[in-house]
């Protein structure tokens, strides 16, 4: 009799959406598995299923036709004794019901939980700053000072590991004679590796000692905006006395006149009298 009453309550709850009758708790989550009388959620919690658990479609409340597969979203209704009495299934995320914290006392695990020192909350640094990584979008401004030998007509780009090191992936805008800037929207938690280029990896930035430098790396933490200042000391295609040729050019290694496009017919320099 009691079981029938409970089932009726659960059915009513399903029909009315997520609102659970008094005494029952409803949470929404994503399933990993349902096996051996337990439901396993991606939160890492396992809950005991009532022997009389009802499995329904979340949208209609009708008996479920959605197979219980990993990734399935579910709204679980808990009886006061901690057993799940109803699982409402959906292929799409379900609106958040009550907090999982309310049902974590019902989570089962054979071994008692032992604290994990590696999961201790992060501590503020020496400046009192505590970096957090929630995935929120952060407007990040990259401001770079380029070598003074950079032509005023040059374009500067960023090549990143996220773009497969495409040397023209992110184009920067010139700020003045020595600075370029770009604003990117990155999610906090992003680890971005990047290098500045002038449009090809043959004209990528070099370390101050002229050698190839490892990619720059930045970890984006939670913030509203962030500005990163970088310095490029030199470009790979610039030697001490000029620029080295790039692919698909036929270079002239020696040009006796420093003017590449004098009028045709102009006499070459001569000793005169």
């Amino acid at each position: 009799m009691m079981r029938r009453m409970l089932a009726s309550i659960v059915l009513a709850a399903a029909c009315c959406g997520a609102a659970a009758p008094p005494g029952l708790i409803t949470v929404s989550g994503q399933l990993l598995d349902v096996a051996s009388g337990f439901a396993y959620f991606t939160t890492g919690d396992a809950f005991r299923l009532s022997p009389h658990v009802r499995i329904v479609e979340a949208e209609t409340g009708a008996p479920a036709v959605t197979p219980i597969l990993p990734r399935t979203y579910a709204r679980a209704t808990f009886a006061p004794d901690g057993e799940i009495v109803e699982l409402a299934l959906s292929k799409t995320p379900l609106p958040e019901a009550e907090s999982f914290r309310l049902v974590q006392r019902f989570a089962v695990s054979l071994s008692p939980t032992k604290p994990n020192p590696a999961l201790a909350p992060p501590q503020p640094n020496a400046h009192g700053y505590l970096a957090t990584y929630s995935g929120k979008p952060v407007l990040v401004t990259f401001m770079v000072r380029v070598p003074p030998t950079t032509p005023l007509t040059a374009t500067v780009y960023m090549a990143t590991d996220a773009s497969g090191w495409n040397p023209e992936a992110i184009r920067l805008e010139r700020v003045d004679a020595l600075h370029f800037r770009i604003v990117e929207r990155l999610r906090s938690g992003t680890v971005l590796r990047y290098l500045y280029t002038r449009g090809s990896l043959q004209s990528e930035e070099r370390a101050e000692n002229g050698l190839q430098r490892p990619p720059r790396e930045v970890v984006i933490s939670d913030a509203t905006v962030r500005t990163i200042h970088d310095v490029v000391y030199r470009w790979a295609d610039q030697s001490a006395s000029g620029e080295l040729p790039l692919p698909q050019t036929i270079p002239t290694p020696y040009n006796p006149a420093p003017f590449p496009n004098l009028p045709p017919g102009m006499p070459t320099p001569h000793p005169g009298r």
């Binding site: 598995d33 000072r145 005023l152 090549a159 497969g164 023209e168 000692n209």
Partner: protein, 609 residues
């Protein structure tokens, strides 16, 4: 009566019996392998097979569902679903998980491996009816699970893929952790269509050497990485540029810890082909070698070339304490074909050019040093070298020089971002920058070349999105002969003598006033405008100076050339058109300089991000 509908449960009686059978080794794991070696943090190979394997390029997610089989080192894992965040270097297997390790076989609801942290987590299922357990495996020690150890909150997190469509679908994939993923016989989403391919490779390596490329720019480049691994990529490029139009190019990348090589043929399907080889090797932290070799052929298909030239550049760099030493060697063969009795091949546009000059230069560049306590910096460079061509490089005074020695010295000074105005309000602060570079190069032919470049700019940020600057540059090049030099010359253009040019005796001064503004409201859109006024000597005149060579994008190779139109304005817009794709459109207007108004064409680039 149980109310679980039979069709909703995946585990019928047979599976249940199988689970019971499997429970025995779970409860009594095989003999443990003591002191298991820690997981290698380098590239490891993970082989994945499933009913459906999907790759989401914009999120670096590899997902699989249905009868998932994974082979990962000594582990064999089965499950119903698989999710791997390639960038975070971790994966989750969920649903009826069977984990076979050298230490034993375990069952669970889910298993995850956080590779960078050398931690594996198992949501263990023991005997039917028993409560599940949380096991953590540390450093690859599967014999001694740490039971009940608190796990990260996202140890078994699966991504929300609602509304996302995969870029690649297949039945199997090979992952080189931290480096690449390769699919066999996938369907790859190209221009909205699923195109079957024999193989497809995606690199997400943090090592830029594997991405070194030897291709020139293009308006559009669709890269198809056909296959590869942690040290190699074989790619086909579908490209478009304004000179060659649509064409194919091929590229082979190779990389190891301190070296790389990349070879390409670009375009492959046009007669004017460039065969490029770029290599780099850094045998020590203070020394590197880079080479660039290029063969240009003009040939239809792979038939006898009508042109064939070769260029090789070698650069050796040795880091010093406060400077670096660089040796640059270049060698060119303008024609590698046997001499033709007619002086050309096919038609006169493919002429025989016997010259094969070479040059060697040794130079030292010092680091940027602050000048006292001033906000200014200096850097010096100096060096020497020679150029040689047996057919002669220059004739002067009746003497043909086949070898010309030179030495040079230069100085660069700059001051960076001096704040002016209201320094407390960043939107009312002006920043002043100035650079000055001077070089003199002496030659064994009795002349020297002085180049001087001075730039000053003033910039201001008007809002977080809008910045503007004004810059003035004076570029002076003087070619001074100890005797004589450039004589007066009056060129004639369309019957009109240009008398003003007669004042040119080897000294040119290019003055450029620039006003630039950039608007960047967010990371998805940017627009910029650049107005320039040139006041040059010798003065430009339409048709007087040959136009500078343009690259395949329609841009000038050289930045400072004679004959720039007095006024130009360039507008550019870049917008993100897909999560990882941007389009860049640029065009210049020249304000009625002769017949020149608009630049030859829009420069349009579609750029993967």
């Amino acid at each position: 009566m149980p109310t679980i509908p039979a069709e909703t449960m995946r585990r019928p009686a047979l599976s249940f019996a199988l689970a019971l059978a499997l429970a025995t080794p779970v409860l009594h794991p095989l003999a443990a392998i003591a002191d298991q070696a820690p997981v290698n943090p380098g590239v490891q190979t993970l082989r994945l097979e499933a009913a459906r394997v999907r790759f989401y390029n914009d999120r670096w997610l590899l997902e699989a569902d249905g009868d998932v089989h994974i082979s990962f080192g000594a582990l064999r894992i089965r499950g119903e679903a698989f999710s791997m965040d390639l960038k975070q270097d971790r994966f989750v297997v969920a649903g009826s998980v069977r984990l076979a390790t050298p230490a034993g076989t375990y069952r669970g609801a889910a298993f995850s491996d956080f590779l960078d942290f050398r931690r594996c987590y198992l949501f263990a299922i023991l005997a039917p009816g028993d409560e599940p357990d949380h096991w953590t495996f540390v450093d690859g020690d599967f014999a001694h699970p740490q039971k009940g150890l608190q796990m990260p909150g996202d140890a078994f997190a699966l991504p929300n893929l609602a509304g996302a469509s995969p870029d690649v679908t297949a039945h199997s994939a090979v992952v080189g952790t931290t480096a690449f993923v390769r699919f066999a016989h996938p369907l790859v989403r190209i221009a909205g269509m699923d195109v079957p391919l024999p193989s497809y490779y995606v690199s997400f390596s943090a090592d830029p050497d594997l991405a070194q490329n030897s291709l020139a720019g293009a308006n559009f480049d669709g890269t198809l990485n056909l296959t590869g691994d942690a040290h190699a990529i074989s790619a086909v490029h579908l490209r478009y540029d304004t000179q060659n139009k649509g064409y194919l190019a091929v590229e082979q990348h190779l990389a190891s810890k301190n070296a790389f090589a990349v070879f390409s043929i670009n375009p492959l399907t046009r007669p004017s082909k460039f065969w490029n080889l770029v290599t780099g090797w850094q045998p020590s932290p203070r020394f590197s070698i880079r080479t660039f070799s290029q063969v240009h052929t003009f040939q239809y298909g792979l038939r006898q070339p009508l042109e064939s030239s070769q260029f090789t550049a070698v650069q050796l760099t040795q880091a010093l304490r406060q400077s670096f030493l660089q040796v640059n060697l270049q060698q060119v063969n303008y024609t590698m074909l046997a001499p033709s009795p007619t002086g050309y091949y096919g038609d006169p546009t493919h002429a025989f050019v016997p010259n094969h000059p070479s040059s060697v230069e040794l130079g030292v560049t010092t680091f940027q040093h602050q000048i006292g306590r001033l906000p200014s910096y200096e850097s010096l460079h100096y060096g020497a070298g020679f150029t040689h061509d047996v057919f002669g490089l220059q004739t002067y005074g009746g003497v043909t020089y086949s070898t010309i020695w030179n030495h040079y010295a230069g100085l660069t000074l700059f001051t960076s971002s001096l704040p002016l105005g209201d320094r407390h309000d960043p939107l009312k602060t002006y920043f002043f920058n100035a650079t000055f570079a001077k070089q003199r190069q002496w030659f064994s032919v009795p002349h020297y070349i002085d180049t001087t470049d001075a730039v000053a700019s003033l910039s201001r940020r008007f809002s977080n999105a809008l910045t503007a600057y004004v810059a003035y540059e004076v570029n002076n090049t003087g070619d001074y002969y100890l005797q004589g030099g450039y004589g007066s010359y009056v060129p004639i253009v369309d019957g009109t003598p240009i008398y003003g040019f007669a004042a040119f005796h080897g000294v040119a001064t290019l003055r450029t006033l620039s006003l630039g503004a950039a608007y960047q409201p967010n990371g998805e859109f940017s627009a910029s405008l650049l107005l320039r006024k040139h006041d040059d000597f010798p003065q430009p005149y339409p048709g007087l100076f040959p136009p500078p060579p343009l690259n395949v994008l329609g841009e000038s190779f050289t930045t400072n050339y004679l004959g720039q139109p007095p006024y130009d304005i360039t507008g550019e817009v870049r917008a993100r058109i897909a999560p990882r794709l941007s389009v860049d459109i640029q065009r210049t207007y020249f304000f009625n300089f002769g017949t020149l108004r608009w630049s030859p064409q829009f420069v349009i680039q579609v750029i993967p991000q």
